[in-house]
């Protein structure tokens, strides 16, 4: 069975919410839609206070190149256009909408039937993705229309669907595959057409045998969809590692997947692509896992963007357990710890992970004993221990010479460090400083 070439770790899986079917999250009284739903510049609000909006109506327009449209996830009245603090306490432009009923735009096809044929040209498909504000749901929220506009002189040979879900705890992709396998396959076919590639490879780790079986069975009805079971290893879901696992190719330092002829798309995104292209539905919902070892129940919700984390927690468990130590948006390896739970969810949100306090507190840092475990764990073949001391001593450019910017921030180094050194914290700090140095040099 295939996997990526070097490094990697095996954290405890903890996929305890696998069996929880996707539920619909009820609408709250008010939603707050951030204009920064994606990687890049914020969208520009196109509604004003007092405007009536419907579900799926464009409320934030993408004006910059690196930007995506934002649509109203609810129907109701715009309360105000202001700033709102995101889960990390930073103020971001946002539109507040008071919910009134649930009235959808007429153009959106809400019938349950699956629509299989797609007669659009590649260019039209990309335009549709742009119009519907589709972004990558794997975590980076990269605007999809940019990813599927292949630059001049480059050619896509592989379409790789990332259904790895290598992060512990997370099960949203797992549930989507089980419940919407056919829609996903249609979405894949649409993307295949947009790129003009013969085959799409769906990478699924072998800890999800039910998904592999389901997807294989469904894929037989489609042309050019190959399900590729992968040997479990974190971070298989990282773009470069997945490309390496499936094609054997390696994306060189500072290059993009398209430079080796690959385009990677998250499986959740393909579902959104299906809904956007076939059903005219903008990206206003995503599947979110609410999980934690100490929670009374595990859930997978379909959540409209703009619903606050506090509302989701209220719906899932009433209130947080008294022993809660951390609430994380995303998985335990790459997710971000949140401090402001009143903040709204955004397009890329994949989970609310509640971690108990004894697990949430970092152990005391001790001296590095040069065991080299960080180096063995690094999937990029870097030297985290070296970065740590270089960054601490302010030798940033030297760290740059050792390719600190190649780090994909998977967290394998910190995970495996017996001395509990905050290796990834230091590397991130070093990367930030290195980028600043490079930016200053450009000027």
């Amino acid at each position: 069975m295939k996997t990526f070439a070097m490094g990697g770790i095996h954290p405890e899986e903890n996929k305890i919410s696998t069996s929880a079917a996707i539920e619909q999250m009820p609408l709250p009284k008010q939603v707050v839609v951030l204009m920064n739903q994606h990687l890049g510049a914020p969208a520009t609000p196109v509604v004003a206070k007092g405007d009536k909006v419907k579900v799926g109506q464009l409320i934030g327009k993408a004006e910059a190149f690196m930007c995506a449209n934002v649509h109203s996830p609810v129907s109701g009245t715009v309360n105000k256009v202001d700033v709102c603090k995101d889960p990390f306490g930073m103020a971001k432009p946002a539109i507040y909408i008071d919910v009134e009923g649930d009235e959808w735009e007429e153009s959106i096809d809400r019938r349950p039937e699956i629509k299989r044929e797609c007669n659009l040209e590649p260019k039209q498909i990309v335009d549709k993705l742009k119009e519907m504000g589709i972004v990558g749901l794997g975590g980076a929220t990269f605007p999809a229309h940019i990813k599927y506009s292949i630059p001049e002189g480059k050619k896509a040979e592989y379409l790789i669907i990332n259904a790895v879900e290598c992060e512990p705890y997370l099960t949203s992709d797992h549930r989507v595959m089980l419940e919407h396998a056919e829609e996903i396959c249609i979405g894949i076919s649409i993307l295949r057409k947009a790129l003009g590639v013969p085959n799409a490879y769906v990478g699924i780790e072998n800890n999800k045998p039910d998904c592999i079986a389901k997807m294989r069975e469904t894929a037989t009805k489609f042309e050019g969809i190959i399900v590729e079971p992968l040997k479990m290893k974190y971070p298989q879901g990282a773009e470069k590692q997945l490309i390496n696992a499936i094609t054997g190719r390696k994306v060189p330092s500072g290059k993009l997947p398209i430079d080796v002829g690959c385009v990677v798309s998250n499986v959740g995104t393909t579902f959104a692509v299906y809904e956007a292209v076939q059903k005219n539905k903008p990206l206003i919902e995503n599947i979110l896992t609410v999980t934690g070892k100490h929670l009374p129940s595990q859930h997978n919700y379909q959540v409209r963007i703009g619903i606050s984390y506090a509302d989701i927690i209220k719906q899932a468990m009433g209130e947080l357990p008294a022993t809660t130590g951390k609430v994380i948006s995303g998985g335990p390896m790459m997710g971000k710890a949140m401090c402001n739970l009143d903040a709204p969810t955004v397009k890329g949100a994949s989970s609310v992970l509640v971690i108990d306090e004894d697990e949430a507190t970092r152990a005391r840092e001790t001296a590095c004993i040069r065991c080299g475990k960080c180096m063995q764990a690094c999937p990029m073949g870097l030297e985290p221990y070296l970065f740590s001391s270089l960054v601490r001593n302010g030798r940033i450019e030297e760290a740059g010479e050792h390719n600190i910017l190649d780090c994909i921030e998977c967290g394998c180094c910190f995970f495996s460090c017996p001395a509990n050194k905050p290796l990834l914290d230091e590397i991130r700090l070093g990367k930030n400083k290195m980028r600043a140095i490079l930016a200053a040099k450009k000027k």
């Binding site: 951390k326 970092r362 390719n403 460090c417």
Partner: protein, 323 residues
């Protein structure tokens, strides 16, 4: 409600810790220690206890009164140093107090003067051992006969083949005829330091460490392999009178290769570097044994290779992704 914790990712950690690693190394040394006690009696136990106690005490004192930092004696690294030091000295009565001097040098100079665990360039136990060897050459090379010790509690039947001297000492002085049998060398029925005698006990510990992934096979295999091949060549050319099997089964090669050279702090980090390190250790050991004035060269070989570890780390980088 309590305040939420905030930190960068990742938010989970493996259950590895420095403390666990150190105590597992201690555990891996237990079989060797048991064999030593079985052969050398109460003296061996006392030497080990005194050595460990002295190392821990010196570390505590230095951290408390000189460095003024929180004590780290619980992490077990001082115990490892103490045990290794004890396993590197003969179980004689003089050692009961000499080993305290060795412990002071090992911890004080070998480890704490560089800033403590993780910062020492040389293996502290070997620093202590070599200091003792140079300062007290007579005491350090007076070997008790196994099972015939003054304090002996366990009586082991002795055969005519075992003498008070180490096999290597015998070789230097008397030639190959007086050597113990291979089986005796495997189970440890020969003269020598506490931890030098039983190859099997050392291998049990080493296999445990390999399974726990605390050591990798690269250094021990490269070390022992090089020693074996090189001594074979010398034996074949007639430059040496020791056959290769005896070479690797006697003296400190087994203990050195499995426990001293594999010390994480003082050995290279990449696999390639570790192979080179092991090769250097093996080569130097045989050179010192064959042409040096000391019968044994493992300690010096490892210390010499320790000194080039930073250089090896610079030269042997991990293979980068897509390069």
């Amino acid at each position: 409600m309590k305040l939420l914790n905030i930190s960068g990712s990742p938010h989970v950690h493996s259950d590895e810790s420095t403390k666990k690693i150190m105590w597992r190394v201690n555990l891996a040394l237990v079989p060797t220690l048991i064999v030593a006690i079985a052969y050398f009696g109460l003296n061996a136990l006392l030497v080990a206890l005194i050595s460990v106690a002295a190392c821990v005490l010196f570390q505590w004192l230095i951290e408390k009164f000189i460095m003024k930092v929180p004590s780290t004696i619980c992490d077990g690294s001082a115990v490892v140093t103490g045990l290794l030091l004890a396993l590197n000295v003969p179980a004689t009565r003089e050692m009961l107090w000499l080993v305290i001097i060795g412990a002071l040098v090992a911890i004080g100079i070998g480890k704490m003067s560089f800033g403590g665990l993780g910062k020492n360039p040389f293996n502290p136990a070997l620093v202590g051992r070599v200091f003792m060897l140079i300062s007290f050459p007579v005491q350090m090379t007076t070997w008790p006969k196994p099972g015939e010790n003054l304090f002996s509690m366990v009586s082991v039947p002795t055969t005519d083949a075992t003498t008070g001297a180490t096999p290597l000492g015998i070789l230097k002085e008397n030639g190959a005829e007086a050597l113990p049998q291979v089986w005796d060398m495997l189970i440890g029925h020969m003269g020598g330091s506490l931890g030098e005698v039983s190859t099997i006990a050392i291998l049990i510990g080493a296999i445990y460490l390999l399974c726990r992934r605390i050591i990798s096979w690269h250094i021990p295999v490269a070390f022992i392999g090089t020693a074996f091949v090189f001594s074979w060549i010398l034996y074949g050319c007639g430059s040496s009178n020791v056959d290769p099997l005896t070479t690797i089964l006697t003296g400190g090669i087994m203990l050195g290769a499995c426990f001293m050279a594999t010390d994480m702090v003082t050995s290279p980090m990449t696999k390639g570097g570790q192979l080179l390190f092991g090769f250097g250790c093996g080569l130097l050991t045989i050179i010192i044994r064959t042409w040096g004035s000391y019968p044994e060269g493992v300690s010096f070989a490892i210390l010499l290779m320790n000194s080039v570890t930073p250089l090896i780390n610079k030269g042997f980088k991990p293979k980068r992704f897509a390069c």
